[in-house]
Symmetry: C2
Subunit: 148 residues, 2 copies
């Protein structure tokens, strides 16, 4: 298990006991797989990886566990232009990032651009809005796919 996985893992575990919830084999496996992946996994991918460690894990449990992770700020749901949602481990708060998505190979690259965030707040202010969160997705071809 990677170091950052361990940290998130512990937070998850602590949240469980703090709320009188139970620490089960399923939750342990799902959390480990999820935090270790670091990727933008879909539920079926997460389920497949979890089942390598224990074939009896059900899809329902994966959905239920993700819901807990989301509610405690440990996971974020992303909906790109696909049918299913993807989930991504959230490390420390405040480090918001956005995504570049290759429409050919589905590669997902994260980026941070302070100046864009600033301009967003500027736009919001002009319209009297107070922004709580935002979504910025850039779709196109990645370097590899452009060459082909």
């Amino acid at each position: 298990m990677q170091e950052k996985t361990r940290r998130s893992f512990e937070v998850f575990k602590r949240n469980m006991s703090a709320r009188g919830l139970k620490w089960t084999r399923q939750r342990e496996i799902i959390a480990e797989v999820f935090f270790d992946a670091g990727d933008h996994l879909k539920v079926d991918e997460l389920l497949a990886r979890a089942r390598r460690l224990d074939p009896r894990i059900s899809q329902a449990t994966v959905y239920r566990t993700i819901k807990l992770l989301k509610s405690w700020g440990l996971a974020e749901e992303r909906r790109f232009d696909e049918g299913q949602a993807r989930y991504e481990p959230l490390q420390e708060k405040g480090l918001h990032h956005d995504h570049l998505i290759c429409t050919k190979c589905n590669r997902i690259v994260e980026f941070v651009k302070q100046r864009i965030e600033k301009l967003q707040h500027e736009v919001a202010r002009e319209h009297g809005f107070e922004v709580t969160h935002h979504k910025l997705e850039l779709y196109g071809l990645c370097a590899d796919c452009r060459r082909r």
Copy 2:
């Protein structure tokens, strides 16, 4: 019917005959309601309005008509943080805009910010990407809801 509605309406009609498709009562009503609304309608809202003009129109036909509108660049599908998609009439090409969405009253405000678009291309270039389209949504409270 508004003037801009009429223009889109004619483009739609011309596309029909040019492709050997038929101009039906349903398509006429759905297109008129859609272009006149100018808003970000959900399918059930569009259906309700269409049924005021003809109660027999089916949901399936609304979905099928929207699919045509999308494929000809006359409608754009938007997926904010809701279950259902919203559709918006697309006037002339090239005038891209983004959205501010009030999480309390669901008001949707459109905006254009050239400098953000520029920065997006800059980010893409840094990562070797070639952007074809993007999605920028700012969620928060609108001026009215902030006061309350």
